[in-house]
Subunit: 155 residues, 2 copies
């Protein structure tokens, strides 16, 4: 139930050519407290409720619990969420044995593109495509829960 | 997904003789904001995640969504919850065609006993046992989410 993840800015749209899969994500939060976020997400034709805990010192590792729910339930729960719905298109890109997920944001976060890579261990090496920019792992303002309250267009 | 419920104080322990079922409940909250509480509950050998919305003007009717989860998941999620675990024994008592649930609280809420009855409609009549006292429907401080932050022993 612990997720190890590193997050990067994306410097060009080259990743779109390498993408093998893409889908729309709509999500909002029942709780954006950094110690215990509760997220409702619709991802293509699936939906989930996800609880995340606070990150470790570097922000790489974080408790995560997720459960599938119906699209109808997710829609009802989205109505209850805090203001600040997040809309994005996710692209999946194979990079060696890993998959990089790139999120292109819309709405209040238009202009922001973030890449995430999930690892087995904190210091695991991975192939860096040349469109991967500055690492922002652990920077609070890039957490989706924070982007919903303080969106990119206000930065 | 809307729950209609009325809540009462309990004036004696007579209800225990009429109870047909009883079990222990341990619960805590991932979010205690009145507009969207998120509760983790272990109830006997079952566990649930429950989301509730804000009540209507009288506090009788409230959005509720619940999903069973494993006991192991519930235990991990309880660790992430806000401080203020609630422990109580629930007694179920048949009253005409309804079931009254009586919660006897322990720990920080020792001394408090609350009864709840779920109805099909707001003004539906029901049999009132003589141990049912003052109605407290819609009084915020009797919500479990509020009892976890401002427990009965502090009143």
């Amino acid at each position: 139930m612990t997720e190890i993840e590193r997050k990067f800015l994306v410097t060009s749209e080259e990743f779109k050519k390498e993408s093998t899969k893409q889908y729309r994500i709509v999500q909002a939060f029942l709780n954006t407290h950094p110690e215990r976020t509760v997220r409702i997400r619709i991802k293509g034709q699936q939906a989930f409720i996800t609880v995340k805990g606070i990150g470790n010192a570097t922000g790489t590792s974080r408790f995560e619990w997720e459960k599938p729910i119906s699209i109808e339930d997710a829609e009802a729960l989205l109505h209850l969420c805090e203001q600040g719905m997040i809309e994005k298109t996710r692209y999946e890109i194979k990079s060696g044995k890993h998959t990089i997920e790139v999120d292109e944001f819309f709405g209040q976060n238009q202009g922001l593109i973030l890449a995430e890579i999930e690892l087995e261990e904190e210091n695991e090496p991975f192939l860096k495509p040349n469109w991967l920019g500055k690492e922002v792992t652990g920077e609070n303002r890039y957490y989706n829960s924070q982007l919903s309250k303080n969106p990119f267009i206000l930065w």
